[in-house]
């Protein structure tokens, strides 16, 4: 059977800031197209740094990051930050379309795409609102819609739902998986919640404290689509226990 090449491959990636200590100390990982992988680890272990390396927002000190078979170009990428990072002076529609406007698409085209995306994240009724008029969960949905606007191949998410209540978070998790099932991007998801990681991921990578490496990789073989039933299932709970145990071993005593 034909196996597509990994869409992202990190080999021996090390990173330090200036003369500082090593933050990432040899990261090797391969992610297949359409996979959703989570990164968990203690605070300050370099998860955000790892995402920023993949996004090209900062450069690796050593090692390689390759995308796809032989293409030197970066695939289309989007980044969702922990805070929604919306531009307060733009309406919801304009915020969603910001990446497209930056790429020089016309206003009319942007409006059309924004409307379609707003529907996808259930925001069609607030297209002309300003960010301050939205709840935290709605702002995150705008941020998600904006990230999807360029039809990215890779979606990098840095604790996107960390500031939300459990109910909104669970709902957004389910919606995220539904969207991913349709659009088939590859996702990197940083979270502090083991439950969330197990629910969303094909694989979970656990990072150690500084200097950080990947200490465990847990494959989550829960069937899709995943729903509340998945969370209630025995298999889900077992994965949570397993991931928690792995996380305990790396946490400083």
């Amino acid at each position: 059977m034909y196996k597509p090449p990994p869409i992202t491959q990190l080999s021996g990636v090390r990173k330090r800031f200036d003369r500082g200590p090593w933050v990432l100390d040899g990261i090797d990982l391969q992610v297949e197209p359409g996979e959703l992988v989570s990164l968990i680890g203690p605070s300050g272990c370099g998860k955000s740094t790892l995402l920023r390396l993949i996004a090209g927002l900062t450069q690796a000190t050593e090692g390689q990051i390759a995308f796809g078979a032989s293409k030197p170009a970066r695939p289309e990428m989007a980044f969702i930050f922990q805070d929604a990072t919306l531009l307060p002076w733009l309406s919801v529609a304009a915020n969603i379309a910001t990446p497209l406007r930056l790429q020089g698409r016309s206003r009319e085209e942007c409006r059309g795409i924004a409307e379609r995306l707003a529907e996808l994240v259930h925001l069609e009724s607030v297209l002309d609102f300003y960010p301050r008029q939205l709840s935290g969960g709605m702002q995150m949905r705008v941020s998600l819609a904006r990230a999807l606007s360029t039809s990215p191949q890779i979606l990098l998410m840095d604790e996107p739902f960390g500031a939300l209540d459990a109910i909104s978070r669970n709902r957004l998790n389910e919606e995220l998986l539904a969207i991913q099932a349709r659009e088939r991007w590859t996702g990197f998801f940083v979270t502090h919640s083991v439950n969330e990681a197990v629910f969303l991921s094909n694989r979970i990578f656990i990072l150690s404290p500084l200097p950080s490496r990947i200490t465990n990789e847990i494959r989550i073989d829960l069937p899709f689509p995943r729903t509340q039933q998945t969370r209630d299932s025995r298999a889900f709970q077992d994965y949570v226990v397993e991931a928690n145990a792995a996380l305990q071993t790396v946490l400083p005593k």
Partner: protein
């Protein structure tokens, strides 16, 4: 703001007009009272109605002086806004320019208004040109400083967002930095507006009387030498009104530009 305070604020709307009105009446009564109590001569403290009479008696001169001060201060202020904003844009875009000029922008802000005004009048003499120059010099530096601060304090995340989508430098400047800096810019513009009238009038008062025809500050000196004390009060009142107009104009423009999104303008709805 919780709903209850919001409701209270709304019920206050009538009081917000009534109370200042009452305060005004009280102040005028106090004015008469003090004058009577200490038996103050009209040359020291004219009565409010005498000030009103002065308005009527001197209306031609006052109008001419007001127009002069107003147009001068306005032109200078406008120049400060336009050139100040342009300078801030240049300084945020070209860092060597910024390194070279920034200390001087801060330094010039420190110069005392009276001194700036005096120096300008000494160089340019009393008249429209001086008023323009003073209003410009006093407004320019605060506007550059505050706009530049805004342009440079865009959150790192927003910049990264633009970088991720390979934005062009002009897009980053005009779609991100400029809107982000608007509230800062208006803070500077408000300072400039307040000082524009004060500065111009001060400059003329300092310069004293020359032969030419000057603005309100010049007229204050003239009235003083003619012992028309109530006319001085009238001219002073006009200065306050002018300053108030300038600041209101800035606040109105700020409201137009920022009402949708900026926290400081989100009042009870």
């Amino acid at each position: 703001m919780n709903p209850e305070t919001r409701r209270n604020r709304r019920n206050d709307r009538g009081l917000r007009f009534l109370l200042p009105f009452l305060t005004g009446l009280l102040l005028i009564a106090l004015w008469y009272g003090i004058k009577a109590l200490f038996n103050l001569h009209d040359y020291i403290l004219p009565a409010p109605h005498q000030v009103l009479q002065a308005f009527a008696a001197e209306s031609d001169t006052l109008l001419r002086a007001t127009l002069m001060t107003f147009s001068g201060a306005f032109l200078g202020f406008l120049a400060a806004v336009i050139l100040g904003a342009a300078m801030a844009l240049l300084m945020v875009s070209f860092r060597y320019l910024r390194y070279s000029l920034y200390p001087f922008v801060i330094f010039m802000q420190m110069s005392p208004i009276i001194a700036t005004a005096a120096i300008v009048v000494i160089i340019f003499d009393v008249g429209l040109q001086s008023v323009v120059m003073i209003a410009f010099l006093i407004g320019f530096f605060p506007i550059v400083a505050s706009a530049l601060q805004g342009l440079r304090s865009v959150p790192e995340r927003h910049l990264e967002l633009f970088k991720l989508y390979r934005s062009k430098p002009w897009q980053e400047l005009f779609w991100l930095r400029v809107p982000y800096a608007l509230p800062y810019f208006f803070t500077g513009a408000k300072i400039a507006a307040t000082l524009a009238v004060i500065g111009s009038v001060t400059g003329e008062i300092f310069a004293g009387s020359t032969d030419g025809s000057g603005g309100l500050g010049f007229m204050i000196i003239v009235y003083k030498s003619e012992l028309k004390i109530s006319a001085i009060y009238a001219a002073t009142l006009i200065c306050c009104v002018l300053g108030f107009l300038f600041v209101s104009l800035v606040l109105y423009l700020r409201w137009i530009c920022l009402r949708h999104w900026h926290d400081s303008l989100i009042t009870a709805e």
